[in-house]
Symmetry: C2
Subunit: 178 residues, 2 copies
DNA sequence: CCTCTATATGTGTTGTTGCACATAGGCTGG
DNA sequence: CCAGCCTATGTGCAACAACACATATAGAGG
């Protein structure tokens, strides 16, 4: 119950090839559910076998041809049924936080460097999310689908802001204590 | 590179049996790295075979005996070496956020109910984290190990606060738009 | 005496993910 | 003409995690 549904979600908006899907899973929806392309192609075949998708071959000029997938009615029903199922909050799994549990037995300067690195990475993502918000969701009149995506993006922004400020404070605390 | 190190981290503070470790992975360190007991017992045997741990049998009265594990010097070195390795930020994987991407094709009242449910769960965790902070980290003079744990706990608190406020606002936005 | 709960430790199976590797068309620039 | 890159689609394998199931001691309470 996982990638399968994320693919149905993507295809509920528009028909896409495996390659295009992989790009979505690297950018847009990938912020909240990442997947590699081998995973995606495998899942697409499975979903097609189950009758949730159909595929059509599109010939292209200047590029290799591609196979575009669309939701069937059964697929759309499966998406709806999935949306009614309860969701558990995902478990946090973060090595950096685990390392803080052994502050006496780890390489402290290395930890500080890692915190710095994390800070920069989260700052970069934050910039990216804010750029997306400004460029794609600035309109005052969003469709309900866009509205939903914006709410998710909002979580992304807060999540990154939270990390940025936490990293800064953690670094400060650890510096004063060194 | 995963549960293995979280176990080394736990044992760097004190010797523990598999059962005690499982409890830690349900409460304390489990907030940032969860594991089930079968996983833990399997990993312990592996780490022992690798020479990172040694075990001693402790007979108990009134309870079944237990096997207590301790870090060897090699184990402590492995922990230190691991702490020097770079960490990637963990990928977010959250079905609830994925569902927001298909707001037009899902069961909207069900989504609202799920948001409510999530809100309550995060509120509960937040209460739990704050309770732990007050009861275990209130002292002005913490050891450096405790200091590290507190920094991690601080992330837990902010993380939950963030979820709580996001859920509230998401519910509000979706209500006004219905 | 029986059930329930807590302590204590596992096996077996399945599902998911990640990662490395494989292939192939066609454009662009040196 | 060749290298490098983007498009496009896969296979194979290993690691990891989730979940159900299995087993045993011993106290507490009905």
């Amino acid at each position: 119950m996982a990638l399968e549904h994320a693919i149905l979600v993507c295809l509920s908006e528009q028909d896409l090839s495996g390659y295009d899907l992989a790009k979505q899973f690297d950018t847009s929806i990938g912020f909240f559910w990442h997947a590699s392309h081998p995973q995606i192609y495998r899942e697409l075949r499975k979903l097609k076998d189950q009758g949730l998708l159909v595929s059509t071959d599109h010939s292209q000029v200047g590029k290799p041809n591609k196979t575009v997938y669309s939701l069937t009615d059964t697929g759309r029903e499966a998406l709806f049924a999935w949306s009614q199922r309860a969701v558990e909050p995902p478990a946090v799994k973060d090595e950096l936080l685990v390392r803080l549990y052994a502050l006496d037995d780890i390489d402290r300067p290395a930890l500080m460097a890692q915190l710095h690195d994390r800070l920069e990475k989260h700052q970069e993502r934050l910039r990216q999310y804010r750029r997306i918000k400004e460029t794609q969701y600035a309109s005052p009149d969003l469709s309900s689908r866009q509205q939903g995506k914006l709410i998710a993006l909002e979580m992304g922004i807060r999540y990154e802001e939270n990390w940025v400020s936490w990293c800064e404070e953690a670094l400060e605390t650890l510096t004063n204590r060194a």
